[in-house]
């Protein structure tokens, strides 16, 4: 091979590859821009710290970064990802184990851009695509809270068990380039201040879309604000179906007033529903601490998102039930469910939610209905008081077939019109949510 033309072409190709590799290497390790480059020390102003504590409540940091019985924010929650399990980190101001050495700029890059000091990319289990919308002021307050309002703790971080090469972090930078926004929330001038405050909380700190927006192939949320039709249109995650928060009559908030939304987020319950599944944690740790003004703003914003009748199906209306008891599932319902949810399916609002017209009995996705029947509900703690009534777990009492039949009965009675539940689907979720299984859904196992 002594062809000078070949050598020249190969040389150019090699150079092009090297340049491309160089650009890539720069891109995936670069430090994102931050407006805080000149500010290094955290203000200990008590007003700022207390405002930061409120932002931490809005953002529900504690849900993942704390474990029951351990120091607050010392990390440890195990999260299953398709690649392997990862653990939330210690974000107390300890200088070795936590984030005590972070400058405000470091903190900003981690929270809003998912980049740790040194350029290491965080997994998007940290909802930085949502936190990207946090305002500069809220980031500054949040930083002050974590530096001065949180006790340092020495709890060491647990490494992920994702194997090489899947554990390489730099490809996440490319994911970020496609899916993660880079600018804080910008108020829409054609909307009032209440709506804009609601949009800010829902899209930014509240990161509602993390569960309620369906995800695409790359595990990206299909939309990050109201400009996309899939935004908050309902998503399946961790064995629960987080319903639509749009104006869908059946599967969304179409039948809820703004006051109903406020009551639900403040007290955990209203005439339509009671929090359950992952929402129990969001309620216990976050939404009940929001101010009435912020809850009203959230309600205003959510009520502005139109529904999709095509996706939602014909509007649900109550129909008095056939009293026949020989329908499969009817007897199980009468003996196991009716004591609380009523033989008329109307429940005992607002303590026992109605099943007539319930989202889980109208949605195509049946994961929530199966999961709550198998595993029951977690304890709701409202204003420091644990709830008196909880959904018991029927895992040990009812077979897959019995659960499939009773859920099929619930989903086809009182005007409910969702598909039948297959015993195989129950068996599958029973395996996934079994603490003894090899791949439990960790978030629900606490």
């Amino acid at each position: 091979m002594n062809n000078p033309r070949f050598a020249r072409t190969a040389g150019w190709l090699l150079l092009a590859c090297l340049v491309a590799a160089g650009v890539l290497a720069w891109y995936v390790t670069r430090q994102p821009a931050t407006p805080f480059a000149q500010e290094s020390t955290a203000s200990a102003d008590p007003a700022l710290v207390s405002r930061g504590e409120y932002v931490a409540r809005l953002s529900d940091c504690v849900a993942c970064h704390s474990l029951a019985g351990k120091a607050p924010f010392s990390g440890g929650l195990e999260m299953a990802t398709p690649l392997g399990n990862i653990h939330a980190t210690n974000i107390t101001p300890d200088r070795d184990a936590g984030i005590g050495t972070y400058s405000l700029a470091d903190f900003d890059r981690a929270v809003r851009h998912g980049v740790a000091p040194g350029g290491k990319r965080l997994y998007p289990a940290m909802p930085y695509p949502s936190y990207a919308k946090l305002s500069d002021d809220d980031i500054r307050a949040l930083y002050a809270f974590f530096m001065h309002g949180v006790q340092p703790d020495k709890q060491a971080n647990i490494p992920s068990d994702i194997p090489w090469p899947l554990n390489l972090r730099w490809p996440i930078a490319l994911w970020n380039g496609v899916f993660a926004p880079t600018a804080p929330y910008a108020a829409k001038p054609n909307q009032d201040a209440v709506w804009n405050r609601g949009a800010y909380i829902v899209q930014g700190p509240g990161h509602c879309g993390s569960c309620h927006t369906p995800r695409g192939l790359a595990f990206n949320e299909k939309a990050l604000d109201e400009s996309g039709a899939p935004y908050l249109a309902g998503g399946l995650l961790d064995g629960w179906y987080a319903p639509s928060l749009r104006q869908d009559h059946n599967t969304g908030l179409g039948r809820w007033s703004e006051a109903h939304i406020v009551q639900f987020l403040k007290t955990g319950r209203n005439q339509h529903a009671v929090v359950y599944g992952s929402m129990t944690e969001a309620f216990n740790n976050s939404t009940q601490f929001m101010t009435d003004d912020d809850l009203a703003a959230i309600a205003r914003y959510l009520k502005s998102l139109p529904g999709d009748p095509q996706r939602d199906g014909p509007p649900w209306q109550y129909v008095a039930a056939d009293t026949r008891q020989d329908i499969p599932g009817a007897h199980t319902y009468a003996t196991r469910c009716a004591a609380c949810h009523g033989s008329d399916g109307k429940g005992q609002p607002e303590w026992m939610p109605p099943l007539a017209g319930a989202t889980s009995a109208l949605a195509k996705e049946n994961a929530s209905a199966i999961n709550i029947t198998l595993n029951g509900s977690q304890r709701i703690v409202a204003a420091g008081v644990p709830d008196a009534y909880r959904m018991p777990a029927f895992r040990e009492q009812l077979s897959d077939t019995q659960i499939a039949e009773v859920l099929t009965y619930v989903r086809s009675t009182w005007g409910n019109h969702a598909d039948a539940v297959d015993a195989k689907a129950v068996g599958k979720l029973r395996g996934h949510t079994d603490p003894a299984s090899a791949s439990p859904i960790i978030l629900q196992m606490r």
Binding site: T323, H331, A334, R336, A339, C340, G342, Q348, W351, Y389
Partner: protein
């Protein structure tokens, strides 16, 4: 709030989410209804609300305002309930008896809705727990009650 229990009207001062069982037993002194598990699992606390069996340990008292509650104390005022108790005595169902007020209420509710239940219907409806293991006696009594001639 105003409650209708056993055809009587009671004025009750309780939080809206107080379990009905606590009001019945502690405030009104109707102690025939028993506390078992407190989780709607065992059925010892069963009462009738508008003729349906309800586990009063998990029923918020505000949820029965304006509805007719029947406890074991008045079950024999009901024709069906009277037959159930008579059959229970005839078959000597009770052993320690703690769960039996709930069993009788559950049997009454079933027979009020389904006068001649099949074995499968009896089995599906009579799911209250009994630590003495009187299930066979309960089943015999229910089979006698389910025969059309006894109706």
């Amino acid at each position: 709030m105003e409650l209708r229990i056993n055809q009587k009207t009671y004025q009750v001062d309780a939080d809206a989410d107080t379990p009905l069982l606590w009001v019945i037993r502690d405030d009104l002194g109707l102690t025939g209804t028993k506390y078992g598990c407190g989780l709607a699992q065992c059925g010892a606390c069963s009462v009738l609300v508008d003729g349906n069996v309800v586990r009063s340990c998990v029923t918020p008292v505000a949820g029965v305002v304006g509805r007719e509650v029947t406890t074991i104390e008045a079950i024999e005022d009901d024709e069906v309930g009277k037959r159930v108790v008579a059959t229970w005595v005839e078959y000597q169902v009770a052993q320690c008896g703690y769960c039996q007020s709930g069993q009788v209420v559950a049997a009454t509710a079933l027979l009020k809705h389904t006068p001649a239940p099949s074995d499968a219907q009896i089995e599906a409806a009579m799911i209250n727990l009994c630590r003495c293991g009187t299930y066979n006696a309960i089943h015999s009594a229910m089979q006698a009650l389910a025969k059309p001639e006894s109706a």
